[in-house]
Symmetry: C2
Subunit: 386 residues, 2 copies
């Protein structure tokens, strides 16, 4: 407990944009997030009072960080699972715990467990050799998808493979791989939920996540024209996974909606997730507040939407030679043109393709919201004329 406030202390390992936005949500709860940052200029380290510098792969650093925290949670999946177990063995309260997190850290384990639970997934197989790949491809057809079992994100660690030869180098590298059929999809969806240690669950409306080159560029809440029974099915599925896997905190279930109308689980994330950034403005309780409530074992907040539609567009770093130069100058023009579009900058340096922020707008007219958030994101990153 923080003697100054009479409230528990939440530590988040990792100091990226998720920790940064969690700090924003922590402030009104009377909290101030403690973060473990690799670098002093990580996005969350710039906005938190209590920053510990250290490597999340270093158990000593994790132990030092956890001292004085009432609960420790995660900004990413990269903390070694055995370190999470070691912290728990020390008596540190961790949410989500190692047993749950392993399924977000290892796609092979995730697929195995979901298959056991009868959760609909693309056909999949662990791929250790050219022969495995050939036989899996013969079964599900080409092209197929290969994924690194560990460490991938935002399209990294994912390869679409047309024939076994294309994966020769990858197979030789010793990367642990999972193969998945390349499903014919209508679109991608996400069902984001939260679950507390007490077992309380809460769902947000199912959203559509629009992808480009394997990276989410836009989220529409709720997913347009999604039949109510399919939305219900997705939410129930996400709650069931959260319960069966013992997830505490936010769980994002990325889904494929196939061309023949089935839902298949694509990925799991056990932390606040890009697909729910829209909740900051679009839901009575944001995913960041909800994650804090869940890991603190507080009762969860209302997830009622605040508007008919909410649209979020990611800011993906553009080229260096953008005109007008300088993000500050472009922020001026953005604000003049889009007085109701909300800006979220992550305090990260600009690099082509890097997620450096997002914008959100709420309202009644979906096409207008999409057009304006897209134009705003395009201008902020790539400049030009407005």
């Amino acid at each position: 407990m923080d003697a100054r406030t009479g409230l528990p202390v939440v530590g988040m390992v990792g100091a990226g944009q998720l920790a940064r936005m969690t700090q924003q949500a922590a402030i009104p709860l009377g909290q101030s997030l403690r973060v473990l940052a690799v670098n002093a200029d990580d996005g969350a380290a710039l906005v938190c009072a209590d920053v510990v510098l250290g490597d999340h792969r270093d158990l000593d650093a994790l132990r030092r960080f956890a001292t004085g925290c009432d609960v420790v949670t995660w900004d990413h999946e990269h903390v070694p699972n055995e370190h999470i177990r070691a912290l728990a063995a020390d008596g540190v309260v961790v949410h989500p715990g190692a047993d749950a997190l392993q399924y977000a850290q290892d796609k092979g384990l995730m697929r195995t467990r979901l298959s056991e639970l009868g959760v609909p997934c693309p056909r999949w197989r662990r791929i250790g050799s050219r022969e495995d790949l050939q036989s899996f491809g013969d079964e599900v057809g080409w092209p197929l998808v290969l994924k690194a079992a560990r460490g991938g994100y935002d399209g990294k660690g994912v390869w679409v493979v047309d024939r076994p030869e294309d994966a020769a180098e990858l197979l030789a590298s010793g990367t642990e791989l999972v193969g998945e059929e390349k499903v014919a999809i209508r679109r991608e969806l996400a069902a984001d939920v939260a679950r507390s240690p007490f077992g309380q669950g809460a769902t947000w409306p199912v959203v559509e996540t629009v992808q480009q080159d394997g990276i989410c560029v836009e989220v529409i809440a709720p997913a347009p024209s999604l039949p109510e029974d399919v939305a219900d099915e997705a939410q129930q599925l996400a709650l069931r996974i959260a319960g069966e896997l013992g997830v505490t905190g936010v769980l994002a279930v990325e889904l494929f909606e196939t061309t023949d109308g089935r839902l298949l689980v694509n990925e799991l994330a056990m932390r606040p997730h890009n697909s729910a950034h829209w909740t900051i403005e679009g839901s009575r309780t944001s995913q960041f507040e909800q994650h804090l409530r869940a890991v603190l074992d507080y009762p969860l907040g209302s997830t009622a939407p605040t508007a008919r539609w909410t649209v979020m567009a990611n800011l993906l770093g553009g080229p260096d030679d953008v005109e007008p130069k300088g993000i500050d100058e472009r922020v001026h023009h953005f604000m003049a043109h889009f007085p109701d579009v909300k800006l979220h900058l992550y305090g990260k340096g600009m690099r082509p393709g890097r997620k450096v922020g997002h914008v959100t707008a709420c309202g009644e007219d979906l096409e207008d919201l999409r057009a304006r958030t897209r134009a705003a994101a395009e201008y902020l990153m790539n400049g030009g004329e407005l």
Copy 2:
């Protein structure tokens, strides 16, 4: 400019709840507020990365603090006006500036200037002696109101006086006083606006501020049953005052609605203000974001309401021996009972009558919102049964 983000640095002098909530609004703008804090455990010092300790009455401390800030603004009115002038003479960009702030710092100057502008005010007079008081009372009637010209807030520095003898001690103390007629009022209102150095203005809906013992306990947005032309008049008046006085940032104009339907200016504050805390959830742009936009001379954000009604109730510290003990325990029960009521705790120790936070709810049913925010505030501060 912050080389890490390419964005300007805002410094706020004072580290109370207004700075704390400004930090919350700064994060999505890619900012992190720099604060000048008297104590390391001031509410905003607990949540900001860049905290300078020092006294806001010490020019050296202010100069040290201002170094590296692109703009300096204020959490309160207690910085000596001559120090603000000295900073500006040094080349520091300050918003609002000394010329504007003097009217928020000295009620005599404020009344003089507003009277010159023809702005409707209660009848008033500077009171230096028993004779002044007697003659002013003979003119406006008893009881009347005496206010300390400088340094009062939240009902402090305000006295209702039935006869000259009641003020004997006060007059002897040498406190500079302003007398005001005790106006027969229907209720109190506030017109909150923002103005940028460029001259752009923005208004929020006029609100009703419900007072108890001279302290605001509840704000209703918009003010119920306020005729549209009266609301327009109040907003125009506030924008006019902001322009004439050269205010930059948020200006709160506290108003009396008299029993005969006139609007009179009660007080001015040139900073985010309790009467606009509801904007965090209830407006597309919160007063804290708007204050930042204004002092940065960014274009102002949309002030469109996000709901039909928004109600805010202040959390005023209760007695020590409250059951259940401990704010954390009460927060649990509060969250279970009021999943859609938003909590804002300021990181301040509990003291009877002290503003330690507020709660906000948005919706369609005003009486329901009032009842629930009142019950929530009552329980969080005074415990008991829910």
